[in-house]
Symmetry: C2
Subunit: 323 residues, 2 copies
Amino acid sequence: MNENIQNILFDIEQYIDNQFKTNQPNSLYEPIRYIMSLGGKRIRPLLCILASQLYKTDYQKVIPSAYAIELFHNFSLVHDDIMDNAPLRRGLPTLHEKYDTNTGILSGDVMLIYVYEYLLKNADNQATNIISIFNKTSIEVCEGQQMDMDFEKSNSIKIADYLKMIELKTAVLLGAALQIGGILGGANDSDAKCLYQFGVNIGIAFQIQDDILDTFGDPTKFGKKVGGDISNHKKTLLHLLALQNANDFQISRINKAYDHEEEQTKIQSVTAIFKELNVQVLALEYQQNYYKIAFDYLEKVNVDKNKKQDIIQLATNLFNREN
Amino acid sequence: MNENIQNILFDIEQYIDNQFKTNQPNSLYEPIRYIMSLGGKRIRPLLCILASQLYKTDYQKVIPSAYAIELFHNFSLVHDDIMDNAPLRRGLPTLHEKYDTNTGILSGDVMLIYVYEYLLKNADNQATNIISIFNKTSIEVCEGQQMDMDFEKSNSIKIADYLKMIELKTAVLLGAALQIGGILGGANDSDAKCLYQFGVNIGIAFQIQDDILDTFGDPTKFGKKVGGDISNHKKTLLHLLALQNANDFQISRINKAYDHEEEQTKIQSVTAIFKELNVQVLALEYQQNYYKIAFDYLEKVNVDKNKKQDIIQLATNLFNREN
């Protein structure tokens, strides 16, 4: 990462450290400080600020809005972790695990309200515009989470449904981060929309990459356990592509493979059929397609090409990672 | 209730009926329609509209904001019911009981986001002002709920802490409903602040009345079971006043009374000591004090006295109810 990106990351972390330091009751706010301090790549606030820098180098006034997006992202993780009964987040106890479920619900709620407080800071005459964009996006994130939960009980998910789900659940927030940053920097409507589309499409591509790495990643480099999605019988793009391309005999073999009681056998058996059906290559085609659409939109953003280098570097780095 | 109040209530119910009719996924929005259809007295949206009518008779443009307040109130009930493990709400299954806890969390979240969507409608150049007022208020509601949960584990609650808790948890939202309605009608700063204070103080008085009725209400008229607070060992104002006024011997008798296994014996024993300590009268003094402060603030609102009659009628009716 270059110096500019490093500076931004430093400022974001410092801003995060300085929030909710004295709020009372402590039992409500300490959990928020905890979850916000767990780290993560801070991609969303980073993209928000980089988008503003396409128009204005000084980004100090954008930091509260960038923070708002990161706060919302963490709010959604807190509530999702309760819903998924997840014990760990970034290798440490999830908020509801460290405190309790009621605290997780209520601290999450107050995080969501504070998102709007931070979005109002420095937004000046763009405040209602930015809140409208954020409302649309955050509603979609909830709808995506609901679709994801509904999919667990469904056996007739189409690939288009899955792509819509990941678009809503994860990609639109990247789009909104870029769009809001752009607007705060001074982007016109057309640029702001292209930045949004760049974010959404790159977000879908990231998620597909996550699906691929979860099954086909290098166990020595992948942060989580390879095969987790198969172990949990998650209906990822790989799974749906496998079903789409399998004949009746292969479908019954896939179902049998998922039925293995022993986890490693299950992961190996399902992975073997996925390989046989070439799903890694097919998924990669989807990923590259979204990647290309994303960069076509970035191309259309009407600013000097060398100003886009940091966004390009960040996005490229995220695709070259193996974890 | 007079014709104007009846008309407003009709319009509020009709507006409620018309929201979230086609939103997808249905699994996310049907629960919202369910909880919003359960009824209730609709006091908050009613106060919001009546406050706007102090300045402007036609209230059609205020309905979305009034609805936003009612939506927020129901959001908080949905999440509180999960935290309190409550099976029933207005005599029917709570949202998380009818659907499930995950649905309760996520439908609640999306309700909270939609509150901001509705607050933006028709707020025009007051939008950021209204959102700031709402943010402050809704943060306080969460803080009050957290204090309430913290109190369950504490044995050193002072009456001032309790009054602060009910102010945050329930009263400030009544204040905000009136303040926002006033602003949308065209109130100046001074009037808007007096309306807020009227709402907060009348809200505290309502809550104290609830505490009194829960123990001393007429079982044939009170909607809930009389004695519920004692049965749950809730640290209400009555309980705190009893402790404050009891000698050591009476305190040990109170503790013993709460220890009764049989519910009716427990309720009767604790109630008997409350009566002995005169707590109903003491609590009533608190209630009347807040009631008086409230009406002093309403008096200061700089509009013709006869325009205030509907608000006065509504508040008075609410105090004359026995359920």
